[in-house]
Protein backbone atom coordinates (compact mmCIF):
# COMPACT_ATOMS: atom_id res chain seq x y z
CA UNK A 1 0.00 0.00 0.00
CA UNK A 2 2.67 2.50 0.99
CA UNK A 3 4.99 1.20 -1.70
CA UNK A 4 2.19 1.52 -4.26
CA UNK A 5 1.33 5.04 -3.16
CA UNK A 6 4.98 5.99 -3.54
CA UNK A 7 5.39 4.39 -6.95
CA UNK A 8 2.08 5.18 -8.57
CA UNK A 9 2.76 8.91 -9.23
CA UNK A 10 5.98 7.95 -11.00
CA UNK A 11 4.16 5.32 -13.06
CA UNK A 12 1.62 7.91 -14.15
CA UNK A 13 4.50 10.23 -15.07
CA UNK A 14 5.97 7.45 -17.23
CA UNK A 15 2.61 6.88 -18.92
CA UNK A 16 2.34 10.63 -19.53
CA UNK A 17 5.80 10.74 -21.13
CA UNK A 18 4.95 7.77 -23.34
CA UNK A 19 1.89 9.64 -24.61
CA UNK A 20 3.98 12.78 -25.11
CA UNK A 21 6.15 10.75 -27.51
CA UNK A 22 3.07 9.27 -29.19
CA UNK A 23 1.34 12.60 -29.79
CA UNK A 24 4.42 14.48 -30.92
CA UNK A 25 5.49 11.80 -33.38
CA UNK A 26 1.91 11.48 -34.64
CA UNK A 27 1.02 15.16 -34.82
CA UNK A 28 4.18 16.74 -36.17
CA UNK A 29 4.45 14.90 -39.55
CA UNK A 30 0.71 15.37 -40.03
CA UNK A 31 1.07 19.11 -39.47
CA UNK A 32 4.08 19.38 -41.84
CA UNK A 33 2.40 17.43 -44.64
CA UNK A 34 -1.07 18.91 -44.50
CA UNK A 35 -2.09 17.72 -47.97
CA UNK A 36 -0.96 14.20 -47.11
CA UNK A 37 -3.09 14.32 -43.96
CA UNK A 38 -6.07 15.49 -46.02
CA UNK A 39 -5.59 12.52 -48.36
CA UNK A 40 -5.25 10.08 -45.45
CA UNK A 41 -8.45 11.33 -43.83
CA UNK A 42 -10.29 11.19 -47.15
CA UNK A 43 -9.07 7.64 -47.80
CA UNK A 44 -11.08 6.34 -44.84
CA UNK A 45 -14.25 7.38 -46.72
CA UNK A 46 -16.00 8.08 -43.42
CA UNK A 47 -16.37 11.87 -43.47
CA UNK A 48 -18.34 13.88 -46.01
CA UNK A 49 -16.01 15.83 -48.31
CA UNK A 50 -16.88 19.15 -46.67
CA UNK A 51 -15.61 17.83 -43.33
CA UNK A 52 -12.39 16.26 -44.63
CA UNK A 53 -10.22 19.39 -44.71
CA UNK A 54 -11.38 20.89 -41.37
CA UNK A 55 -10.79 17.53 -39.69
CA UNK A 56 -7.37 17.06 -41.30
CA UNK A 57 -6.35 20.59 -40.31
CA UNK A 58 -7.59 20.34 -36.73
CA UNK A 59 -6.44 16.82 -35.81
CA UNK A 60 -2.65 17.38 -35.85
CA UNK A 61 -3.05 20.56 -33.81
CA UNK A 62 -5.16 18.71 -31.24
CA UNK A 63 -2.60 15.89 -31.11
CA UNK A 64 0.25 18.32 -30.48
CA UNK A 65 -1.70 20.16 -27.78
CA UNK A 66 -2.43 16.86 -26.02
CA UNK A 67 1.29 16.04 -26.19
CA UNK A 68 2.11 19.43 -24.66
CA UNK A 69 -0.46 18.98 -21.87
CA UNK A 70 1.00 15.59 -20.97
CA UNK A 71 4.50 17.06 -21.07
CA UNK A 72 3.77 19.79 -18.53
CA UNK A 73 1.24 17.66 -16.66
CA UNK A 74 -1.56 20.18 -16.84
CA UNK A 75 -5.16 18.95 -17.11
CA UNK A 76 -3.78 15.43 -17.11
CA UNK A 77 -7.19 13.85 -16.66
CA UNK A 78 -8.75 15.89 -19.45
CA UNK A 79 -5.85 15.04 -21.78
CA UNK A 80 -6.22 11.35 -20.89
CA UNK A 81 -9.96 11.49 -21.55
CA UNK A 82 -9.47 13.13 -24.97
CA UNK A 83 -6.66 10.68 -25.78
CA UNK A 84 -8.90 7.74 -24.92
CA UNK A 85 -11.70 9.19 -27.07
CA UNK A 86 -9.34 9.66 -30.03
CA UNK A 87 -7.94 6.13 -29.67
CA UNK A 88 -11.45 4.68 -29.65
CA UNK A 89 -12.21 6.76 -32.75
CA UNK A 90 -9.01 5.66 -34.54
CA UNK A 91 -9.62 2.01 -33.69
CA UNK A 92 -13.16 2.28 -35.01
CA UNK A 93 -11.90 4.00 -38.18
CA UNK A 94 -9.28 1.35 -38.91
CA UNK A 95 -11.63 -1.54 -38.10
CA UNK A 96 -14.23 0.02 -40.33
CA UNK A 97 -11.75 0.44 -43.21
CA UNK A 98 -10.80 -3.21 -42.77
CA UNK A 99 -14.44 -4.34 -42.64
CA UNK A 100 -15.23 -2.41 -45.81
CA UNK A 101 -12.29 -4.00 -47.61
CA UNK A 102 -10.42 -0.74 -48.16
CA UNK A 103 -6.70 -1.07 -48.80
CA UNK A 104 -5.26 2.00 -47.12
CA UNK A 105 -2.42 3.17 -44.99
CA UNK A 106 -3.88 4.61 -41.76
CA UNK A 107 -1.66 7.68 -41.88
CA UNK A 108 -1.43 7.42 -38.11
CA UNK A 109 2.10 8.80 -38.01
CA UNK A 110 1.95 10.67 -41.29
CA UNK A 111 0.94 9.70 -44.79
CA UNK A 112 3.32 7.39 -46.60
CA UNK A 113 1.57 7.64 -49.95
CA UNK A 114 2.36 4.01 -50.62
CA UNK A 115 0.04 1.56 -52.29
CA UNK A 116 -1.01 -1.12 -49.84
CA UNK A 117 -1.54 -4.41 -51.63
CA UNK A 118 -2.15 -6.38 -48.42
CA UNK A 119 -3.41 -4.02 -45.71
CA UNK A 120 -4.62 -6.54 -43.11
CA UNK A 121 -1.35 -7.02 -41.17
CA UNK A 122 -1.09 -3.24 -40.97
CA UNK A 123 -4.67 -2.93 -39.68
CA UNK A 124 -4.03 -5.51 -36.95
CA UNK A 125 -0.79 -3.82 -35.90
CA UNK A 126 -2.42 -0.36 -35.88
CA UNK A 127 -5.41 -1.53 -33.84
CA UNK A 128 -3.28 -3.34 -31.26
CA UNK A 129 -1.03 -0.31 -30.95
CA UNK A 130 -3.97 2.05 -30.49
CA UNK A 131 -5.49 -0.26 -27.87
CA UNK A 132 -2.14 -0.14 -26.03
CA UNK A 133 -2.28 3.66 -26.06
CA UNK A 134 -5.90 3.47 -24.89
CA UNK A 135 -4.74 1.36 -21.93
CA UNK A 136 -2.14 4.01 -21.03
CA UNK A 137 -4.80 6.72 -21.18
CA UNK A 138 -7.16 4.60 -19.05
CA UNK A 139 -4.46 4.14 -16.41
CA UNK A 140 -3.87 7.91 -16.29
CA UNK A 141 -7.62 8.53 -16.06
CA UNK A 142 -7.82 6.26 -13.03
CA UNK A 143 -4.59 7.51 -11.42
CA UNK A 144 -4.11 11.10 -12.57
CA UNK A 145 -1.75 11.99 -9.74
CA UNK A 146 1.78 12.22 -11.09
CA UNK A 147 5.26 13.51 -10.34
CA UNK A 148 6.76 16.40 -12.29
CA UNK A 149 3.36 17.80 -13.12
CA UNK A 150 1.79 21.23 -12.97
CA UNK A 151 -1.37 19.58 -11.66
CA UNK A 152 0.49 18.48 -8.51
CA UNK A 153 2.26 21.85 -8.27
CA UNK A 154 -1.10 23.64 -8.42
CA UNK A 155 -2.59 21.29 -5.86
CA UNK A 156 -5.15 19.91 -8.29
CA UNK A 157 -4.04 16.33 -7.80
CA UNK A 158 -2.00 16.49 -4.59
CA UNK A 159 0.47 13.63 -4.25
CA UNK A 160 -0.38 11.46 -1.26
CA UNK A 161 -4.08 12.37 -1.24
CA UNK A 162 -6.48 9.47 -1.55
CA UNK A 163 -8.93 10.18 -4.29
Amino acid sequence: MTRWSAWQPWLTTLARLALVAVWFTAGWPKLLDTEGTVRSVRAFELLPEAMVRPFAYGLPMLELILGALFLIGLGTRLAALLTAALMVMFTFGIASAWARGLAIDCGCFGNTGASVPDPVPGYIKDILRDLGFLALAAFILRRPTSRLSLDARLGLTPIGATS
Binding site: R53, P54, L74, G113, G155
Partner: protein, 251 residues
Protein backbone atom coordinates in the same frame (compact mmCIF):
# COMPACT_ATOMS: atom_id res chain seq x y z
CA UNK B 1 -17.10 12.74 30.73
CA UNK B 2 -20.18 13.55 28.70
CA UNK B 3 -18.98 17.10 28.27
CA UNK B 4 -15.56 15.97 27.20
CA UNK B 5 -17.02 13.59 24.67
CA UNK B 6 -19.30 16.29 23.27
CA UNK B 7 -16.40 18.69 23.02
CA UNK B 8 -14.28 16.14 21.23
CA UNK B 9 -16.99 15.26 18.75
CA UNK B 10 -17.56 18.97 18.11
CA UNK B 11 -13.85 19.37 17.36
CA UNK B 12 -13.94 16.35 15.09
CA UNK B 13 -17.00 17.65 13.38
CA UNK B 14 -15.35 21.01 12.76
CA UNK B 15 -12.27 19.30 11.34
CA UNK B 16 -14.47 17.18 9.12
CA UNK B 17 -16.29 20.23 7.88
CA UNK B 18 -13.03 21.99 7.16
CA UNK B 19 -11.73 18.97 5.27
CA UNK B 20 -14.94 18.78 3.28
CA UNK B 21 -14.77 22.47 2.47
CA UNK B 22 -11.17 22.06 1.33
CA UNK B 23 -12.16 19.13 -0.85
CA UNK B 24 -15.03 21.09 -2.37
CA UNK B 25 -12.68 23.99 -3.01
CA UNK B 26 -10.17 21.67 -4.73
CA UNK B 27 -12.97 20.18 -6.85
CA UNK B 28 -14.15 23.66 -7.81
CA UNK B 29 -10.63 24.68 -8.81
CA UNK B 30 -10.15 21.51 -10.83
CA UNK B 31 -13.44 22.12 -12.63
CA UNK B 32 -12.58 25.75 -13.34
CA UNK B 33 -9.13 24.93 -14.68
CA UNK B 34 -10.41 21.98 -16.72
CA UNK B 35 -13.18 24.14 -18.18
CA UNK B 36 -10.68 26.86 -19.05
CA UNK B 37 -8.38 24.27 -20.66
CA UNK B 38 -11.23 22.87 -22.77
CA UNK B 39 -12.00 26.40 -23.97
CA UNK B 40 -8.33 27.16 -24.77
CA UNK B 41 -7.86 23.89 -26.68
CA UNK B 42 -11.08 24.44 -28.63
CA UNK B 43 -10.12 28.02 -29.50
CA UNK B 44 -6.58 27.10 -30.67
CA UNK B 45 -7.76 24.16 -32.79
CA UNK B 46 -10.74 26.10 -34.15
CA UNK B 47 -8.66 29.17 -35.00
CA UNK B 48 -6.07 27.02 -36.75
CA UNK B 49 -8.76 25.33 -38.87
CA UNK B 50 -10.31 28.69 -39.78
CA UNK B 51 -6.95 30.23 -40.74
CA UNK B 52 -6.00 27.26 -42.93
CA UNK B 53 -9.43 27.27 -44.58
CA UNK B 54 -9.21 31.01 -45.24
CA UNK B 55 -5.73 30.52 -46.75
CA UNK B 56 -7.13 27.78 -49.04
CA UNK B 57 -9.88 30.04 -50.24
CA UNK B 58 -7.49 32.89 -51.00
CA UNK B 59 -4.86 30.86 -52.86
CA UNK B 60 -7.33 28.72 -54.75
CA UNK B 61 -6.44 25.22 -53.53
CA UNK B 62 -10.00 24.15 -53.28
CA UNK B 63 -11.27 26.27 -56.17
CA UNK B 64 -10.05 26.05 -59.77
CA UNK B 65 -6.33 26.62 -60.06
CA UNK B 66 -5.34 30.03 -61.32
CA UNK B 67 -2.61 28.75 -63.62
CA UNK B 68 -3.54 25.64 -65.59
CA UNK B 69 -1.02 24.33 -68.13
CA UNK B 70 -1.94 24.51 -71.80
CA UNK B 71 -2.21 21.32 -73.89
CA UNK B 72 -3.80 19.22 -71.16
CA UNK B 73 -6.10 16.52 -72.43
CA UNK B 74 -8.45 14.95 -69.91
CA UNK B 75 -6.36 16.49 -67.15
CA UNK B 76 -3.02 15.05 -68.24
CA UNK B 77 -0.64 14.47 -71.14
CA UNK B 78 -2.14 12.40 -73.95
CA UNK B 79 0.11 9.91 -75.74
CA UNK B 80 -1.38 8.22 -78.79
CA UNK B 81 -4.57 8.72 -80.73
CA UNK B 82 -7.40 10.36 -78.78
CA UNK B 83 -9.93 8.11 -80.53
CA UNK B 84 -8.27 4.86 -79.41
CA UNK B 85 -10.75 2.45 -77.87
CA UNK B 86 -8.74 1.73 -74.75
CA UNK B 87 -7.76 4.51 -72.37
CA UNK B 88 -4.91 3.89 -69.96
CA UNK B 89 -4.45 6.44 -67.21
CA UNK B 90 -1.11 6.48 -65.49
CA UNK B 91 -0.89 8.40 -62.20
CA UNK B 92 2.70 8.95 -61.19
CA UNK B 93 4.80 10.68 -58.57
CA UNK B 94 8.34 11.16 -59.85
CA UNK B 95 9.76 10.43 -56.38
CA UNK B 96 8.02 7.04 -56.17
CA UNK B 97 10.28 4.00 -56.70
CA UNK B 98 7.30 1.81 -57.63
CA UNK B 99 6.42 4.34 -60.36
CA UNK B 100 9.87 3.91 -61.86
CA UNK B 101 9.34 0.15 -61.67
CA UNK B 102 5.96 0.52 -63.38
CA UNK B 103 7.56 2.70 -66.06
CA UNK B 104 10.40 0.20 -66.60
CA UNK B 105 7.95 -2.71 -66.81
CA UNK B 106 5.44 -1.04 -69.09
CA UNK B 107 7.20 1.59 -71.23
CA UNK B 108 7.73 -0.76 -74.18
CA UNK B 109 4.18 -2.08 -74.41
CA UNK B 110 2.64 1.34 -73.75
CA UNK B 111 4.75 2.72 -76.61
CA UNK B 112 3.64 -0.09 -78.91
CA UNK B 113 -0.06 0.36 -78.06
CA UNK B 114 -0.02 4.11 -78.58
CA UNK B 115 1.79 3.60 -81.89
CA UNK B 116 -0.52 0.92 -83.33
CA UNK B 117 -3.67 2.61 -82.02
CA UNK B 118 -4.68 -0.11 -79.54
CA UNK B 119 -4.69 2.34 -76.68
CA UNK B 120 -3.99 5.89 -75.65
CA UNK B 121 -2.18 6.74 -72.46
CA UNK B 122 -2.91 9.75 -70.30
CA UNK B 123 -0.08 10.59 -67.94
CA UNK B 124 -1.13 12.32 -64.72
CA UNK B 125 1.75 13.71 -62.69
CA UNK B 126 0.70 14.03 -59.03
CA UNK B 127 2.59 14.89 -55.86
CA UNK B 128 1.89 12.68 -52.87
CA UNK B 129 5.41 12.06 -51.55
CA UNK B 130 6.56 15.57 -50.68
CA UNK B 131 7.56 14.46 -47.20
CA UNK B 132 10.31 12.23 -48.61
CA UNK B 133 12.55 15.00 -49.94
CA UNK B 134 13.86 16.63 -46.77
CA UNK B 135 11.60 19.62 -47.12
CA UNK B 136 12.37 20.49 -50.77
CA UNK B 137 8.99 19.09 -51.92
CA UNK B 138 10.58 17.28 -54.83
CA UNK B 139 7.31 15.56 -55.79
CA UNK B 140 5.62 18.93 -56.24
CA UNK B 141 8.62 20.47 -58.00
CA UNK B 142 8.88 17.53 -60.41
CA UNK B 143 5.14 17.52 -61.17
CA UNK B 144 5.27 21.29 -61.66
CA UNK B 145 8.20 20.86 -64.08
CA UNK B 146 6.27 18.17 -65.97
CA UNK B 147 3.31 20.57 -66.22
CA UNK B 148 5.69 23.27 -67.46
CA UNK B 149 6.94 20.97 -70.21
CA UNK B 150 3.40 19.97 -71.22
CA UNK B 151 2.46 23.65 -71.22
CA UNK B 152 5.16 24.88 -73.57
CA UNK B 153 6.63 21.86 -75.35
CA UNK B 154 4.21 18.91 -75.09
CA UNK B 155 6.25 16.83 -77.54
CA UNK B 156 9.10 16.81 -75.05
CA UNK B 157 6.99 15.35 -72.23
CA UNK B 158 7.57 11.63 -72.79
CA UNK B 159 11.33 12.06 -73.00
CA UNK B 160 11.32 14.32 -69.93
CA UNK B 161 9.24 11.74 -68.06
CA UNK B 162 11.75 9.04 -69.10
CA UNK B 163 14.70 11.17 -67.99
CA UNK B 164 13.16 11.82 -64.57
CA UNK B 165 12.90 8.09 -63.95
CA UNK B 166 16.34 7.35 -65.39
CA UNK B 167 17.72 9.90 -62.92
CA UNK B 168 15.26 9.29 -60.10
CA UNK B 169 16.56 10.45 -56.71
CA UNK B 170 16.29 8.12 -53.73
CA UNK B 171 13.57 8.75 -51.18
CA UNK B 172 14.62 10.90 -48.21
CA UNK B 173 17.10 12.87 -50.28
CA UNK B 174 16.51 16.46 -51.42
CA UNK B 175 15.77 15.22 -54.95
CA UNK B 176 16.88 16.84 -58.20
CA UNK B 177 17.51 20.57 -58.04
CA UNK B 178 15.44 23.03 -60.05
CA UNK B 179 18.46 23.51 -62.31
CA UNK B 180 18.64 19.77 -62.97
CA UNK B 181 14.92 19.69 -63.73
CA UNK B 182 15.41 22.52 -66.23
CA UNK B 183 18.44 20.79 -67.71
CA UNK B 184 16.51 17.54 -68.28
CA UNK B 185 13.57 19.45 -69.72
CA UNK B 186 15.87 21.17 -72.21
CA UNK B 187 17.61 17.88 -72.97
CA UNK B 188 14.18 16.40 -73.72
CA UNK B 189 13.56 19.21 -76.19
CA UNK B 190 11.65 21.79 -74.16
CA UNK B 191 11.99 25.50 -74.79
CA UNK B 192 14.34 26.73 -72.07
CA UNK B 193 13.16 30.34 -72.13
CA UNK B 194 9.61 29.27 -71.20
CA UNK B 195 10.33 26.27 -68.98
CA UNK B 196 12.98 27.87 -66.81
CA UNK B 197 10.76 30.55 -65.18
CA UNK B 198 7.88 28.07 -64.82
CA UNK B 199 10.12 25.66 -62.93
CA UNK B 200 11.84 28.32 -60.83
CA UNK B 201 8.61 30.13 -59.91
CA UNK B 202 6.60 26.91 -59.57
CA UNK B 203 3.98 28.40 -61.87
CA UNK B 204 1.92 25.22 -61.79
CA UNK B 205 2.21 24.47 -58.07
CA UNK B 206 -1.45 25.29 -57.42
CA UNK B 207 -2.43 23.15 -60.40
CA UNK B 208 -0.31 20.30 -59.01
CA UNK B 209 -2.16 20.53 -55.69
CA UNK B 210 -5.52 20.58 -57.44
CA UNK B 211 -4.60 17.62 -59.66
CA UNK B 212 -3.34 15.67 -56.64
CA UNK B 213 -6.50 16.51 -54.74
CA UNK B 214 -8.60 15.29 -57.69
CA UNK B 215 -6.61 12.04 -57.69
CA UNK B 216 -7.38 11.58 -54.00
CA UNK B 217 -11.04 12.51 -54.45
CA UNK B 218 -11.31 9.85 -57.15
CA UNK B 219 -10.54 7.34 -54.39
CA UNK B 220 -6.91 6.63 -55.29
CA UNK B 221 -4.47 6.49 -52.39
CA UNK B 222 -1.10 5.48 -53.78
CA UNK B 223 1.15 5.67 -56.81
CA UNK B 224 1.54 4.24 -59.34
CA UNK B 225 -2.15 3.93 -60.11
CA UNK B 226 -2.96 2.53 -63.53
CA UNK B 227 -6.56 2.76 -64.70
CA UNK B 228 -7.79 1.02 -67.84
CA UNK B 229 -11.11 2.27 -69.23
CA UNK B 230 -12.14 3.48 -65.79
CA UNK B 231 -11.13 0.41 -63.81
CA UNK B 232 -8.06 0.40 -61.60
CA UNK B 233 -5.59 -2.35 -62.42
CA UNK B 234 -4.67 -4.03 -59.14
CA UNK B 235 -1.04 -4.57 -60.12
CA UNK B 236 1.28 -2.51 -62.28
CA UNK B 237 3.14 -5.61 -63.52
CA UNK B 238 3.35 -5.72 -67.32
CA UNK B 239 1.27 -8.91 -67.51
CA UNK B 240 -1.58 -7.48 -65.42
CA UNK B 241 -1.68 -4.26 -67.45
CA UNK B 242 -1.64 -6.24 -70.70
CA UNK B 243 -4.46 -8.48 -69.51
CA UNK B 244 -6.58 -5.44 -68.61
CA UNK B 245 -5.86 -3.78 -71.97
CA UNK B 246 -6.61 -6.99 -73.92
CA UNK B 247 -9.91 -7.40 -72.08
CA UNK B 248 -10.87 -3.77 -72.70
CA UNK B 249 -9.93 -4.04 -76.39
CA UNK B 250 -12.19 -7.10 -76.84
CA UNK B 251 -15.29 -5.50 -75.34
Amino acid sequence: MTNARTAKSAREKAAELRAEAAKAEARRRTLTITGALVAVVAVIVGAFVLIKTAADNSNGTTSAASSTPANLIQGGYLAGNSTAKVTIEFYEDFMCPACKQAEDDNATQLGAWTKDGTAKVIYHPVAILDRYSQGTEYSTRAANAAAAVINSSPNAFLEFHRLLYANQPAENTPGLTDDQLIQYAVQAGADKAVVEPAVTNQTFKAWTRTATDAFSKAGFTGTPTIVVNGTKVESYAAGAVKAAVDAAAKK
